[in-house]
Symmetry: none
Subunit: 144 residues, 2 copies
Amino acid sequence: MLIGEFTHTLDAKKRVSLPAKFRKELGKQAIITRGLDKCLFVYPLYEWSKFAEKLSTLSMNQKDKRDNARFFLAGASEADMDQLGRILIPDYLKKYAELKEKVIICGVYKRLEIWDEERWNKYRDEVEKDADVLAERLGELGAY
Amino acid sequence: MLIGEFTHTLDAKKRVSLPAKFRKELGKQAIITRGLDKCLFVYPLYEWSKFAEKLSTLSMNQKDKRDNARFFLAGASEADMDQLGRILIPDYLKKYAELKEKVIICGVYKRLEIWDEERWNKYRDEVEKDADVLAERLGELGAY
DNA sequence: CAGATTTATCCACAATTTCCCACTACACTA
DNA sequence: TAGTGTAGTGGGAAATTGTGGATAAATCTG
C-alpha cells in the first residue's frame, strides 16, 4: 500500500528519485502515465498491465474509446529505475504535468502521483477549503 | 508493448526514424497504413496479419464493412527499416495524414500511430478537456 | 541510349541518454 | 559523540540515438 507525501527534486537530466519506501512495492519496473488533474500516475507494472489490456480491447470503432486508449496508452512510458531508485520523466510528461524543480510524490493506495510542488499546494489548499465548508455544514446540521 | 509519445522529424526524403524503443518489437518489417482520425497506423507484421485477417472475414454484404476493409487494406504498404531504424512514408500517406516536418510517433499498445505534430496537439488538448470522461473510464476499468 | 531525377545504401556528426561513481545529509547505533 | 548506513542529489564519461548529407544504384524521359 503506497501512502505518504514526499518532496523531491527533478534534476537537470529529468530524474527523480522515488521515496525509498515505495521501491520494493514498485519493483524494478514501473509505468508512468498522464494522470488526472495534470499530475502523473506511477503504477507497478502488474497493476498497469491489467488496465492496459482492458483499454486495448476497447472497440476501435468508437471515437471516445479510441480517445481514451490514446490518452492513457500513448501517454504512458516505461520507467525503469536506475540503481539508486530514480526514474526518468519523459519530456512530454514533464510538460504535461508542468513539473519544475520541486515535485511532490504521494502514494494513493495502488499508485503514486507526481505533482509540481506549486500546483500541489494550490490543489491541496482548495481541497482543504472545501473540506472546511463541508465540515461547517455538517456541524450546522448537527451531524457531529 | 508499444507505449509512449515521441517527436521526430520527417526529412526531405520522407524518412522518419522510429524511436529506438520500438525497433526490437517491430523487427525489420512493418506495415504502414491509413489510420483513423487522420493519422497513420504502423503494425508489426504479426499484428497486421491478425488485423487483416479480421478485416477480410467481415461480412462482405454490408457496405460499411466493405468500406472499412478497403480503407485499411488498400491503403497499406510495407515499410522496411534502413539500418538506422528509419522508414519511408509513401507520398499518398503523407498527404493523407497531412504530415509536415514535425511528427508525433506514439505507441498504442499493439500499434504505432504517426501524427502531424499540430494535429496531435490539438487532438490531445481536446481529449484532455474531457477529464470527467477520462476519470469515469478509469473507474470503469478498475484503475483506482 | 544519354541525361536527369528519384530511390536506396552508407557514413558522420551532434546531442541526448545511460551508466557509473562521488558527495552530502540525516538517522540510528554503539 | 564518533561511526556506520542509507537516502537523496549532482556530475563525468561512454554509448546510443536522431538527423542530415554523400555517394551509389535504379528508374524515368525524351
